[in-house]
């Protein structure tokens, strides 16, 4: 066993863990933070994305011991619990219906937050490339991309989701900058 101490969603936690324990297991099984989900278990799908010291990582591909002394933010630490307000990216995913079954959503949102931190005004292509490590098997990604555009404050993005929700191949004017 190894002793680890780290900050998760603003709280300091300390535990004895087996070195082989994955960060995602630690978050879910030890801390009960089941908002972070295990999708593929092969580090392809990105559903388990969290922030480690402020940058996005796949928590199924990090050992809990590697997070010792570091700071982790999960989907559960994103909203403003004091004022009971969702994070703007969460709000945009809800507004734009950037989900269907919702399983990929925690990872999509965490990766979108990371993407917007580095690039506050991304093009559609930059959004799609930035989310290439996150797989969604329901939406075809259109409303996810729109949610990121809306969170970035790009004009017109908010009104597009209704048409986009039923349009598989988004017309050119919908995806234009």
């Amino acid at each position: 066993m190894a002793r680890i101490t780290l900050k998760v969603d603003g709280s300091t936690v300390s535990d004895d863990v087996e070195p082989r324990m994955l960060l995602v297991q630690y978050l879910r099984e030890k801390l009960g933070k089941t908002g972070t989900v295990i999708g593929c278990d092969t580090s392809n799908c990105g559903a388990c994305t969290v922030h480690l010291d402020g940058t996005s990582v796949k928590s199924c591909n990090v050992l809990a011991v590697q997070a010792d002394g570091r700071e982790v933010t999960t989907i559960e630490g994103l909203a403003d619990t004091v004022d009971d307000e969702l994070h703007p990216v969460q709000e945009a995913f809800r507004e734009c219906r950037g989900l269907q079954c919702g399983f990929c959503t925690p990872g999509m949102i965490m990766q979108s937050v990371d993407l917007l931190k580095d690039n506050p005004d991304p093009s559609e292509e930059e959004i799609r490339l930035g989310l290439e490590g996150n797989l969604c098997r329901c939406t075809g990604y259109h409303n996810i991309v729109k949610a990121v555009q809306q969170a970035a404050g790009q004009s017109g993005a908010a009104g597009r989701h209704r048409a986009g929700a039923t349009t598989a191949g988004a017309p050119a004017e919908e995806v234009a900058e």
Partner: protein, 287 residues
């Protein structure tokens, strides 16, 4: 999927890491960023008794200027390499290859040295390392030695790093002012390339004065296509000027056959992608 149980140490110096490696021998495995190793451990394709984590050795991280070369610490994450101004200025080919390596999360965690030491022939960094003539600093109990890119890659997932040694840094000769492009052919996003071509050119007017070309996934190791480099020298950077040299790209290669394509398909890809990569590196139309 959960790895088999192992012991774990995270030394804070190269000396301590080398000592731990010497102590545990072939029962130990080095973890750098872990983006290739952890999936392997989770699938239990490997079950080391000891995992030695290099993540706490600060001296292995960062990019520095070293006269006629830049030096990239083995534990520098891809995302840092990809946004480093020295890399962009003096080793544009490395920056180009890193930009589309795996996905953003993996680039945050995966490391430059870890990927090279893993030596996956489909990995994106071997071809630029060979093309630019990188040198690999390898530390062991007897000190540090240097291995050239031509000698570093031995076979499939096998390098010149000995069992009791650690890759510490990679020295890349400056190619300041060279145009660069990494042309990668994939079926779906964030996959390993079926074939990729790394090209850097030094232009004099509209003419290619010198070229460096590396090939990804065209054999059991990353390759350098010197016959293409020689044929490109003195050619105009036009589709016609580059075509004959690019036709030589698959010569002498033994590419694998798998579900993504057979060897003949890969040879065809190598020729087409080399033409595209060189033209794009030269900033020419028709790429």
């Amino acid at each position: 999927m959960i790895p088999a149980a192992f012991d774990y140490v995270a030394p804070t110096s190269v000396e301590d890491a080398v000592a731990a490696l010497a102590q545990h021998g072939d029962e130990a495995k080095i973890i750098a960023g872990g983006q290739s190793l952890l999936p392997v451990l989770r699938m239990r394709l490997n079950a080391p008794e000891m995992v030695i984590d290099l993540g706490r050795i600060d001296t292995l991280r960062g990019v520095r200027d070293d006269g006629d070369a830049i030096v990239i610490g083995a534990m520098t994450p891809h995302s840092v390499v990809g946004s480093d101004p020295l890399v962009a200025q003096h080793a544009g080919l490395v920056a180009a290859a890193v930009e589309h390596l795996a996905d953003a999360q993996v680039r945050h965690r995966g490391t430059f040295g870890g990927a090279l030491a893993h030596a996956d022939p489909a990995g994106d960094l071997g071809a630029p390392a060979r093309a630019l003539g990188a040198e690999f600093a390898i530390a062991g109990s007897g000190g540090t030695r240097t291995v050239s890119a031509d000698d570093f890659f031995v076979d499939l997932f096998e390098t010149a790093i000995g069992e009791d040694e650690i890759l510490t840094e990679v020295r890349i000769p400056k190619h300041t002012g060279w145009g660069s492009h990494y042309e990668k052919f994939v079926r779906v996003a964030h996959q390993w390339p079926i074939v990729a071509v790394a090209a850097s050119v030094r232009m004099e007017g509209g003419t290619i004065a010198e070229a460096r070309v590396g090939l990804t996934n065209m054999g059991s190791t990353p390759l350098r296509a010197r016959q293409v480099e020689d044929a490109l020298a003195g050619q105009p950077a036009t589709p016609d000027g580059v075509r004959a040299a690019a036709e030589l790209a698959a010569d002498g290669t033994e590419p694998p056959s798998d579900l993504n394509g057979d060897a003949g398909y890969r040879r065809h890809l190598a020729r087409v992608l080399t033409r595209r990569a060189v033209l794009a590196a030269a900033g020419a139309d028709g790429a």
